[in-house]
Every structure is written in structure tokens, then in C-alpha cells.
């Protein structure tokens, strides 16, 4: 897509707001629609858009697949770890009441942490899946874009 100047310029302008919106959905999920899953998907969509326009190699350099494997596991661990931590603080598994001195504050911290874990895993997994799908197609049609295959 190197020759599509309009697409490149528009994408460059759009990607930052998309990522900003993903972060908003992530950290504002307690107050407005959205949460970790939605934020992760929107964030992944931004990375995928970047890969579509600027090429897979560029996207892999910006967001490394190896990093994604680590963050994917880390997200699930943050979620489960929050549960274990509340267990250690004397509550039940995933009982956020015990995360802080005040039960309501504990719930807020818990939701924030848990949603962050969800978002991290979702963005990592979706981007990884896209990487391997798009990466496999690459060998067959390096020269011709998929649109010419018909």
C-alpha cells in the first residue's frame, strides 16, 4: 500500500485517536460503556490498521510478537493474581473488598486491575492471531495483494 498516499496520511491521523479511545474505554469503563475487552479489541484494531497500511514487518517492529506472548500471559496473571492477593488479604478469591481498607475503594482497585488484565490479554491475543494469519498468507502472494487473487 506504499503508493496510497491518502490512505497513509488518513491512517497516520486516525491511529492516535483510536488508541486514545481504547485507553479511554479501558480506564473509564467503570463510568461509561466499555471495559477491558472492548478496549483490548479497539487497541488491537489500531495495530491491525497500522499493519494493513504500513506493512506487517513495520507493525511487528512496532509491537513485537514476542512481547505480545508475554503480555497475553501477563494479563491473565494480573486477573488471577488480583484474586490470589485478595485471598492473601483474608477474603475470598476475587473478593475485592479486601484489597483496600475501605471495601468500596477495594472494589474500585479490583475492577481497575482486573479490567487492565482483561484488556492486556485481549489486545495481545487478537494481535497475535492477526500476525500469524497475515504472516502465513505472505509466502504465497508476496507480490500480488489479496485483492488481485480473483
Amino acid at each position: 500500500m506504499r503508493e496510497h498516499t491518502v490512505l497513509r496520511v488518513v491512517t497516520k491521523v486516525l491511529i492516535a485517536p483510536i488508541i486514545l479511545f481504547a485507553l479511554y474505554v479501558q480506564f473509564h469503563g467503570d463510568y461509561s460503556p466499555g471495559g477491558g475487552f472492548q478496549a483490548g479489541v479497539v487497541f488491537a484494531a489500531a495495530i491491525i490498521l497500522y499493519a494493513l497500511i504500513f506493512g506487517l514487518a513495520e507493525a511487528r517492529r512496532a509491537v513485537s510478537p514476542n512481547l505480545l506472548r508475554i503480555t497475553g500471559a501477563l494479563g491473565a496473571l494480573i486477573f488471577a493474581g488480583t484474586g490470589v492477593y485478595s485471598l492473601l488479604r483474608g477474603g475470598n478469591f476475587l473478593d475485592y473488598d479486601y484489597l483496600a481498607h475501605d471495601a468500596v475503594h477495594g472494589q474500585h482497585y479490583g475492577l481497575l486491575l482486573v479490567e487492565f488484565g482483561v484488556g492486556l490479554t485481549v489486545v495481545s491475543v487478537i494481535t497475535s492471531i492477526f500476525y500469524v494469519f497475515a504472516g502465513r498468507g505472505r509466502r504465497n502472494d508476496d507480490e500480488q495483494p489479496p485483492g488481485d487473487a480473483r
Binding site: P33, V122, P146
Partner: protein, 188 residues
């Protein structure tokens, strides 16, 4: 209210039209685009139903990511559907009609749309979630509170499912671009 009904009718008929178009097309590139459009229409429908969280997911996953994954898959396979013999399409039509009829029959058992005496409205948990949430969790978005806290265990399970799906795909497909690198030997 009437505008809602009108919008519902318009959206649902658009979805029906898109579905027909998908069934008729043989070239799969427009089909991928149309499934994206279908997802976008259902996302609009969810927004009308005040299910904004679901709509956001549907728009991003269905209309965005899935369409791209379809297109990436066409790079691996052929992007044109093989013509199917007439007898096979008739069997498919019969199965589809039968399934549709069963679903419509089952939907007759469902409570009416917006009815006040459904389990969702009358179950004691509803009071707990909607009324006591402000003291217990105190976040304005009830969906986040239910998913994250009251039903945190389920959500943890979902995250593990997503993670497992990712691992599965990486194990099946991730080798292809990983193998040529020499650096793997150093890791072992």
C-alpha cells in the same frame, strides 16, 4: 418509541438484505465486506437496545477484526466459492428452513419484548445488582460491576478462554514465521 420501532424495522430489513446478498454471492471478498456490514448493523441494533457494551464489542470484533481475518485467510485459500450441485443446495435449503422453523417455534415461548414479568426483571438478584450496587461497589456502569466483581470468576474464565484460544492459534499457525529464524537455537 415510534422512531425506535421504525429504526428497528429498517435495520432488521437491511440485515435481511445483506444476508440474502451473502447467500447469493460466489466471490468471497464482497462476502467478507458484507459480513462486516452485517456486524455493523447488529451493533446499531444493540445500541438501540441500550446494550452499548455489546455494541462496542460487536463493532470492533465483528466489523473490524473478523473482516480482516477473513481477508487474511483468503490470502491462504482461494477467494471464490466452488459451485455446488443443485441437489446439495436443496438439502442445505431444507436444513436451513427446518432450523429456522424450530427457532421461530422456540421464540414463541419467549416472554414478550420489554415485558415486566420476565425472570430478568423479577429475580431477586436484579435488586441486588441494581439497587445495592451503589453501596457495595459504587461505579455508575452496572455492566462493569457485574462482569468484574459480582461475576468476576466467570470473567476470569473468559479471559483464560481467550488466552487459550490465542495459544492454540499460535501453536497451530505460529510456527511458519518462527521457524526460519536462527535465533531460536540460542533460546534453547
Amino acid at each position: 418509541m415510534t422512531t425506535d420501532i421504525a429504526l428497528n424495522i429498517v435495520l432488521l430489513s437491511f440485515m435481511a438484505i445483506v444476508g440474502m446478498a451473502i447467500a447469493r454471492l460466489r466471490n468471497l471478498f464482497p462476502v467478507a465486506m458484507l459480513t462486516g456490514l452485517y456486524s455493523l448493523l447488529s451493533a446499531s441494533l444493540f445500541t438501540l437496545l441500550d446494550a452499548v457494551d455489546v455494541a462496542l464489542t460487536e463493532a470492533a470484533v465483528g466489523a473490524g477484526v473478523t473482516t480482516v481475518l477473513f481477508l487474511a485467510t483468503f490470502g491462504l485459500t482461494r477467494a471464490r466459492e466452488k459451485p455446488v450441485p443443485r441437489s446439495r443446495t436443496l438439502i442445505g435449503l431444507a436444513v436451513t428452513m427446518l432450523t429456522g422453523a424450530v427457532l421461530v417455534y422456540a421464540s414463541l415461548d419467549m416472554p414478550h419484548f420489554g415485558s415486566a414479568d420476565t425472570p430478568v426483571q423479577t429475580h431477586p438478584l436484579r435488586d441486588r445488582y441494581l439497587n445495592q450496587m451503589s453501596e457495595e461497589i459504587d461505579v455508575p456502569n452496572a455492566v462493569t460491576a457485574v462482569l468484574g466483581s459480582y461475576r468476576g470468576y466467570d470473567t476470569l474464565g473468559e479471559v483464560v478462554v481467550v488466552f487459550t484460544a490465542g495459544i492454540g492459534v499460535l501453536m497451530l499457525l505460529g510456527v511458519a514465521w518462527h521457524r526460519p529464524r536462527k535465533s531460536d537455537k540460542r533460546e534453547q
